[in-house]
Amino acid sequence: MAKYLLLKHYRGAPAATNDVPMDQWTPDEVSAHMQFMQDFADRLQTTGEYVDSQALSPEGTFVRYDGEGRPPVTDGPFAETKDLIAGWMVIDVESYERALELASELSAAPAAGGKPLGEWLELRPFMSQPPTITE
């Protein structure tokens, strides 16, 4: 099994195929979308492929050390063009192909007009433990 991170972006990914902001959908379309996301996570739990998912607030700050005894330096929030992560799902699957398949299903969540959203999700493999047997 291999773990993958599916990253959803508020900003920074290429535009979705059905790129209408959610507050311009009908309430039923919003509900259908939420239900799809819920069902998707539930289904991965039953198949034994779900690890974790979290949503993040859009407001964030960069922080760094600024020397002994000084308060940390912060920067942000950043301009509209900056990449911004909205949330993630971690899956544990048999193969890269399966990870692609699931990411594609998730990207097809229903959106405006009941059509698939077609948003770009970023798929990132986890670094794994070195194998015990190497020769």
Partner: protein, 381 residues
């Protein structure tokens, strides 16, 4: 195997060990070990006197642990020098345990964890699961908390105010997983209310019951939030409401008002209205005035602005809102609501979308997005 009984007995047994001279951390460890043994032994061989059994086993665990320490002689001497069980002062052990677990030297998160374990009798695993952190993290938090209160004398008088704040935090966490923290908070507050006549304990218990009564109507099966005005009130638990109102009235009769009684009074007025339109908003505003006077909390002022909007019209609500800091959490959501009521759906839709961006929970964010979507759909048609 009666888990509820075991959990009720936990604080009592810790208290008895404390009276016999065990320090809190050692007593708590010993009782946890005794609980583990009870879970293993009781199904085959249920004791006639569960409490006596637990005290005996926990005391033996405590002595074993004490003997195993390198400072063995010193500790045993100290234990023997302690007063015999059932010392002359009649102090309730469980009440003392509440005080200890909510000791002001603890951070809120530590006090919550320690209360759930020592007073609530939950296992570290259950607490970790309820707060979505790894078990080792929660175990560390609890053992650090125990070290922090090591020097506190078990009989030291405590502050009910810190205890109710900890119980309030537990209740507000809601529930995710096998442990229902809201129900657990109610159980612990009920138990506390039996041990102290403090009006704010009663006020908090009433507040919890009145909010818990709405739970079946508060969330749709898909997890989305239902606003108070849209809830199916026939699904509110009338038994809990009646109990909450009785407890509140008895507390208010003592004429020692506090913030939890005031909040419970507001919840009771909502519970009183058979439909949302019959809500007594004028009285609710008066209670918010009391709450603002008692707490000077910006959150109370924000909720007061909503109530003013209902009692005196949306313009009055917006005027009350204008006096507050726009950086307050939920400020924009309240502004959106009041603008919609005032007949300005364009502004309301824009503000709802904006409020969704700064929501702090997924359920709230989705709710606000849906409100924006609803208004924008209306505006298009």
């Amino acid at each position: 195997m009666d888990e509820a009984l075991l959990r009720t007995l936990t604080p009592t047994v810790i208290g008895i060990l404390g009276r016999r001279g065990a320090d809190f951390a050692a007593a708590e460890d010993a009782v946890q070990e005794a609980l583990v043994e009870a879970v293993r032994a009781w199904p085959q061989d249920p004791p006639r006197d569960p409490k006596g059994w637990l005290v005996t086993v926990a005391w033996r665990k405590f002595l074993d642990a004490t003997r195993a320490e390198t400072s063995r002689r010193h500790r045993e001497e100290r234990v023997e020098a302690e007063p015999p069980p059932g010392a002359s002062v009649a102090v309730d052990d469980t009440l003392q345990l509440y005080f200890l677990c909510a000791h002001p030297s603890l951070t809120p998160a530590s006090a919550v964890a320690l209360t759930l374990r020592a007073v609530g009798g939950l296992t570290t695993r259950q607490i970790a699961q309820a707060y979505l952190v790894p078990e080792t993290t929660m175990a560390q938090r609890i053992s650090r908390a125990k070290r922090t209160v090591t020097g506190v004398r078990f009989t030291e008088p405590g502050d009910v105010g810190t205890v109710v704040r900890v119980l309030y935090l537990i209740f507000n966490e809601g529930y995710s997983g096998e442990v229902d923290l809201a129900a657990e908070a109610i159980r612990l507050t009920r138990q506390l209310a039996r041990k102290t006549p403090h009006e704010e304990v009663a006020g908090l218990l009433a507040l919890m019951l009145l909010h818990h009564a709405r739970r079946p109507a508060r969330i749709r099966p898909d997890g989305s939030l239902v606003p108070l005005a849209e809830q199916d009130r026939s699904r509110w638990d009338t038994r809990l409401i009646a109990e909450g109102v009785d407890i509140l009235q008895a507390a208010l009769a003592s004429d020692n008002l506090g913030e939890f009684q005031a909040q419970a009074a507001i919840a009771a007025l909502h519970a009183d209205a058979p439909i949302a339109d019959e809500t007594d908003w004028v009285q609710i505003v008066e209670w918010y005035d009391e709450l603002v006077r008692l707490t000077d909390s910006p959150v109370a002022r924000l909720n007061r602005a909503v109530a003013v909007g209902e009692a005196d019209g949306p313009q009055a609500g917006l005027a009350a809102l204008a006096e507050l800091d726009p950086a307050l959490p939920r400020y924009t959501a309240v502004a959106a609501y009041l603008h919609e009521r005032s007949g300005d759906p364009e502004t309301a839709a824009r503000l709802y979308a904006h409020a969704a961006d700064s929501a702090s929970s997924v359920a709230e964010r989705d709710h606000l997005t849906r409100q924006a979507a609803r208004l924008n759909t209306q505006l298009r048609s």
